[in-house]
């Protein structure tokens, strides 16, 4: 097997995550999809790290995880406060920007 397949898998997962972001209304699931996309990226980084024979890719993946953790913390806090005020976690309900 060619290790490039990891990249294909990463691309596939990323695309699935992106489509999930677009079709799901629940903000929590939406965040999960974003996590999925981040993980797909991490897989690609790790695969690249192996291809190039250095650890930089893994370091980047490590940072990605940290950023993802921060993002999830803030994002979930937003969801919680949103849910408190609107009693709904649907992103479509937060559409006050439209005319």
């Amino acid at each position: 097997m060619n290790p490039v397949n990891y990249l294909y898998l990463a691309a596939l997962l990323f695309t699935i995550g992106a489509v999930g972001v677009l079709i799901r209304k629940n903000a929590i699931v939406l965040f999960m999809c974003i996590e999925l996309m981040l993980n797909a990226c991490n897989l690609a980084f790790v695969a690249f790290s192996r291809m190039h024979g250095n650890l930089d890719g893994q370091i980047i993946a490590f940072f990605t995880m940290v950023v993802a953790a921060a993002e999830v913390v803030v994002g979930l806090a937003i969801i919680v406060s949103l849910f408190r005020t609107r009693h709904s976690a649907s992103v479509d309900d937060a559409s006050l920007m439209k005319l």
Binding site: M1, N2, Y6, V29, F31, L55, D56, A77, S81
Partner: protein, 268 residues
């Protein structure tokens, strides 16, 4: 594990890739297609564990472990907490409300995926260096060396980012109290003034068998009293109505006692 530069991995890894890869894709699809958020979360957790295995397979031992501990352990738990807060049983409607959104999403996703695949195919990535040489001095030591030398500023910045995120999450979820909390005395006085419900609300639960908070207490005629369960449960519709069961039980009890009394009478 691949310790030499190659273009082909071991067949063991190939088998592992195809089996686990398939599972990972199924997990990902389940994440975006499951109606209930908790199912999505569990599917995602599964996919993440498989990814951790792939990290290990790619020589990223540290990351593989971190993936399990941080992602699957911490972040997914955070997700589950929030899911619990919102309501575990609440199912999303998968019906699309925005016209054309689903088709557009699928079209874009398909185009994006095909283009990405084409791009990877065109990149001509066949040569593998492997991590054997790098990991020779110790994998974690290698990572640590990079983090504390080349990426030290990024590392410090991520630390700051994490602190900021933690404080931000607290600020976001913290509710400022704008007025003094009412004392017990004031609450009691208000209750008397309003005159709706003077004594404490009746307790939930029926007999010794159903004393859970989600079971409403029964009135003398056997009908359930909504007053006995918490407002939140009522709003969520998570009240377990056991009145029918209780009435049946009551009937059976009476019948049994009648039979027994009858027998006693008969024996006398």
């Amino acid at each position: 594990m691949s310790t030499v530069a190659a273009t082909v991995t071991s067949s063991g890894e190939a088998v592992q890739f195809w089996i686990l890869g398939t599972v990972a894709v199924i997990g990902a699809l389940a994440t975006i297609l499951m109606k209930k958020a908790v199912h999505s979360a569990l599917s995602l957790a599964g996919t993440m564990i498989i990814l951790a295995v792939f990290y290990l397979a790619n020589g990223a031992y540290f990351l593989g472990v971190v993936q399990v501990i941080v992602y699957t352990g911490a972040i997914m738990m955070l997700f589950l907490f929030v899911v619990m807060l919102v309501g575990v049983t609440a199912a999303d409607s998968l019906k699309e409300t925005i016209k054309g959104q689903r088709w557009m999403a699928l079209l874009c996703g398909l185009g994006f995926g095909i283009l990405l695949f084409t791009g990877i195919g065109h990149a001509g990535l066949n040569h593998f260096n492997g991590l054997g040489r790098i990991n020779s001095g110790g994998h974690v030591e290698g990572l640590a060396q990079l983090i504390f030398t080349k990426y030290v500023f990024a590392f410090e910045l991520t630390g700051a980012l994490l602190i900021t995120a933690a404080v931000g999450a607290m600020v976001l979820t913290h509710r400022e109290r704008t007025e003094r909390a009412a004392t017990q005395r004031e609450l009691a006085e208000r209750r008397v003034r309003e005159g709706v419900q003077l004594p404490p609300l009746p307790a939930p639960g029926v007999y010794a068998r159903h004393n859970a908070v989600d079971v409403p207490g029964l009135l003398p005629d056997g009908t359930p009293s909504e007053l006995t369960v918490s407002k939140t449960l009522r709003a969520r519709g998570q009240i377990r109505d056991v009145s029918g069961e209780a009435l049946d039980d009551l009937k059976a009890l009476e019948q049994r006692s009648a039979e027994r009394l009858g027998r006693e009478e008969a024996s006398k």
